[in-house]
């Protein structure tokens, strides 16, 4: 149970949130035309006769978009409707060439499903929570108006016109901005695992309509408002915070909430009214007579299912149960598909390089990836996706550590060189003479020299100042230029100091 509450003058208020996420389907071609979909192309360079709604043009369904939406539905364990249909949503706007959007109102492709958001104590999500998903339907995107090209006129770019979107409609199951944020992040992760949407919110590949209402705990749902086209997780959370507080203020001042469409202003973090229900469009939905109902056969569904990758929840569980990773590490490694992919490549190469089963090298690999590599990449201004170090090279480094050829601290040094030069760790160790010294003789000689040079400290140590042990280790290591096996150094010093 979420404990998130708005503290009003009249007591505590609970927030009820539902999200409609529009996710652009990953596909080379648009939903009903062969035009390309690449982001950032010259305005109106990716527009077919169909997209421009020339007279007599007809839509032809792109099966790949349907396949991606079905796979997405399967990933949220939703009912896949083997019979669905496209409807026209009629309204006039300059970015909508046909004068209608082809969507699915009456018979969506994907029915009831759900998504699990993970407990996050710090964010105020005390336990895992299932968020219901009502439906996913497939529809066309509109074009884009450009208001900055001419002093008195607006221009229209139809590149986006007709691009396939999935509208993923949640149940009003969320109760805090944190839950909504976790939902969007999880949904984005699943879409990226499935490969049905790149989840790129900056480029508009994913955006959310945020439905918010407030109520006194235990009372029926209040009237909701819908804030359109919010395009980041942070903005979704800000929208909810602002909108919930605004609604409480209105209600506590004796007002009523009007069902309306609102806009989020990222500059101020506030929402403002766009249009109320009274001037809402009458969309005059009706079945698109240019398209036949969409019927899916079993072979198609089988292929969709077979093509699904292991999804984050299953992966996380496997990492804990089979690889022995901590719940935290497993969660972090599986949160993004790129991280999981990188980790699995590292794990595979590590197991091979060290001649051990994956479960035996998994912890080492996980820890190194999440602390050493992540930290070093971050410092160098890189992310895992554009890491100059490949998983295979990382595995080589881990193997050098695993075999005791280099120490952990040398490994850090080697990693930095790898990031700078792109060289193989073995070559770096060889070239810079970083091989770890385990020869007791050399270490003993160095230890003797250190102890002899620091007679006073040896006295103090023997008198009980145990903390000085670290000093002796450090000095010995320094004398060995960091290449001594720390374990051997420890043993030698312990023996000599008695």
């Amino acid at each position: 149970m979420s404990t998130y509450r708005i503290h009003g003058a009249t007591g505590e208020w609970e927030v009820v949130i539902g999200l409609e996420v529009h996710a652009q389907v990953t596909s080379n071609a648009k939903l009903f035309s062969g035009a390309a979909t690449a982001f950032g192309a010259e305005p109106n360079s990716q527009v077919s006769l169909v997209d421009a709604a020339m007279p007599g043009m007809l839509p032809v369904l792109n099966r790949e978009c349907i396949r991606q939406a079905v796979r997405t539905g399967m990933a949220i364990k939703a009912q896949i409707n083997r019979w669905s249909r496209f409807d026209r949503k009629n309204y006039f706007y300059a970015d909508l060439p046909q004068g209608y959007q082809i969507s699915q109102l009456y018979h969506p492709l994907v029915g009831e499903g759900s998504l699990l958001i993970d407990a996050d104590e710090k964010a105020g999500i005390p336990e895992d929570k299932v968020i219901g998903i009502e439906r996913i339907h497939v529809e066309q995107d509109a074009g884009k108006l450009m208001h900055d090209q001419h002093p008195s006129m607006s221009y229209v770019d139809l590149n986006r016109s007709g691009v396939a979107l999935m509208e993923i409609v949640s149940r009003p199951d969320m109760r805090s901005p944190a839950e909504a944020g976790a939902y969007v992040r999880k949904l984005r992760a699943i879409l990226r695992y499935v490969g049905s949407c790149d989840g790129n919110m900056e480029e508009g590949s994913m955006r959310a309509d945020v439905n918010v209402s407030v109520r006194k705990p235990g009372e029926p749902f209040g009237t909701r408002t819908e804030t359109k086209n919010v395009n980041s997780v942070r903005f979704v959370m800000q929208t909810i915070e602002h909108e919930a507080r605004r609604q409480v203020e209105v209600l506590e001042d004796g007002g009523t909430i009007v069902q309306e469409t609102r806009l989020f202003d990222p500059g101020t973090g506030t929402t403002r009214s766009m249009r109320s229900k009274e001037d809402a469009h009458d969309y005059r939905y009706f079945p698109d007579p240019d398209l036949l109902p969409l019927e899916l056969d079993q072979a198609f569904l089988d292929e969709c299912l077979a093509s699904l990758p292991e999804l984050p929840d299953a992966k996380r569980q496997r990492y804990v149960e089979q690889l022995g990773l901590s719940a935290y590490n497993a969660a972090v490694l599986t949160a993004e598909v790129e991280t999981a992919r990188w980790f699995e490549a590292l794990l595979l190469a590590s197991a091979e390089a060290q001649g051990k089963p994956p479960a035996e090298v998994a912890k080492q690999a996980a820890n190194w990836l999440l602390s050493e590599l992540a930290g070093a990449l971050n410092k160098a201004g890189h992310s895992l996706e554009d890491s100059p170090v490949s998983p295979e090279r990382g595995a080589e480094l881990l193997a050098l550590m695993g075999k005791g050829t280099i120490s952990g601290s040398i490994a850090k040094q080697v990693l930095e060189t790898m990031l700078e030069t792109g060289d193989a760790p073995g070559a770096i160790v060889e070239r810079e003479g970083l091989k770890q010294e385990s020869d007791t003789g050399a270490i003993e000689a160095a230890a003797d020299a250190v102890l002899a040079a620091n007679g006073d400290k040896v006295e103090q140590y023997r008198a009980g100042k145990q903390a000085l042990f670290g000093f002796f280790v450090g000095q010995t290591m320094k004398a060995m230029q960091g290449k001594a096996n720390p374990q051997v150094v420890n043993e030698v010093l312990k023996a000599k100091l008695g």
Partner: protein
Amino acid sequence: MSELTQLGVKAIRDGVAAGTFTAREVAEACNEAVAAAAELNAFIVTTPERALEAAGRVDADRAAGRELGLMAGVPIGMKDLFATRGVQTTAASHILEGFVPQYESTVSSKLWDAGAGMLGKLNLDQFAMGSSNETSYFGNVSSPWRKRGSNAALAPGGSSGGSSAAISARLCPAATGTDTGGSIRQPAALTGICGIKPTYGRCSRWGIVAFASSLDQAGPMARSVEDCAIMLEAMAGFDPKDSTSLDMPVPNWSGALEASLAGKRVGIPREYRMEGTDPAILKSWDDGIAWLKDAGAEIVDISLPHTQYALPAYYIIAPAEASSNLARYDGVRYGLRDLPAGANLQDMYAATRAAGFGDEVKRRVLIGTYVLSAGFYDAYYTQAQKVRALVARDFQEAWAKCDVILAPTTPNAAFPLGEKLDDPLAMYLNDVFSVPASLAGLPAMSVPAGLDADGLPLGLQIIGKPFDEQGVLNAGLAIEQRAGFTAKPERWW
């Protein structure tokens, strides 16, 4: 006028192939006839150079011994609802005046590939909405027919009124038509020619300006059943660009024509015997029954009980789809733009559409918008779809008893221009016999049956099972052979 203009599709094609005359001679004769008939206003634009170019290619192909197409050397008229690359395409509207497509409709390009040439773009009711060709922005089309002893201008029918007028006036041997609720069959009947609307999906709708997508279907209009069969073969075929296109092979209809109806059963729907129908129409229906019996068919009485609801359902479904299909004419990307000083986007829409659409188009857009709006959708649109399903089921059940259905095409002969213009309901009633087959997506054709007392042509309608254009054409041929219809309008233009 040259004798060549009197020839039909097959006669021209075969004559060109045999070297009796050249395609160029035919094109020149037709171009001349078209140029001399401006008074009929059958064409919105003429393209004599296109007809000559196509003829030149056919003559060259023949000289080179190359194989000639189904329509080789046949100049035709193209209803101005088909997009033609480089030639203005208007749907007879002001809003598309000056619109020159960069693409060619599937049906027209199939015809050009088959060796046909284009004489021009034929006038029609605006956006194919009308039954008299009086709603065109480019003026009425006059029928070449006149009542005996009268000079009053008559309607050529609609919406393919330019097509019917041009063919019956011998300006061209054939033309394309489109039929949404009767727009091929009714004008064919009113001008004494043949026209067939094939099964919904036979001809691609790609590149045809849409009126009502679930009903629109292209088809040929010509002066004989065989000519219609030949031209339909050239027009039909699966098109991956039209999702409602039928993925079926195109039969050799003309080769399989058979006028004997031995073993066939012809259904006579009792509900089509409607009050107010012209007695001459009923008489020609009886003639048709006798002719088909003579051709060897068994005549059976059938019932299509939901017939009376077909017309009202049609006038909900067709305008509903039209209101949405015509939303793209908004002044933003092409066609007319009316941008009053200081206008915002909404003002531009309003001004453009007010100036660009005629009254009948506006009427149907308003009706369509109304029947789809919240609170009325179920009462009108959903109900009309149910009626449509029942009408289709009536036919489905009838096919257990008969192979084709014979009925009148129209409740009356050609009427004077202007007579029904102020009474939309009277005008809509002209479609009463043609609309049921449209709602059911069935193939149906009109063939001339004779003249009424005023010397005006009357048509008979044959409706067939889905995909059975052959059965429809065969029954049409049986009537054609027995009706002996040779009348043609006397030239006054």
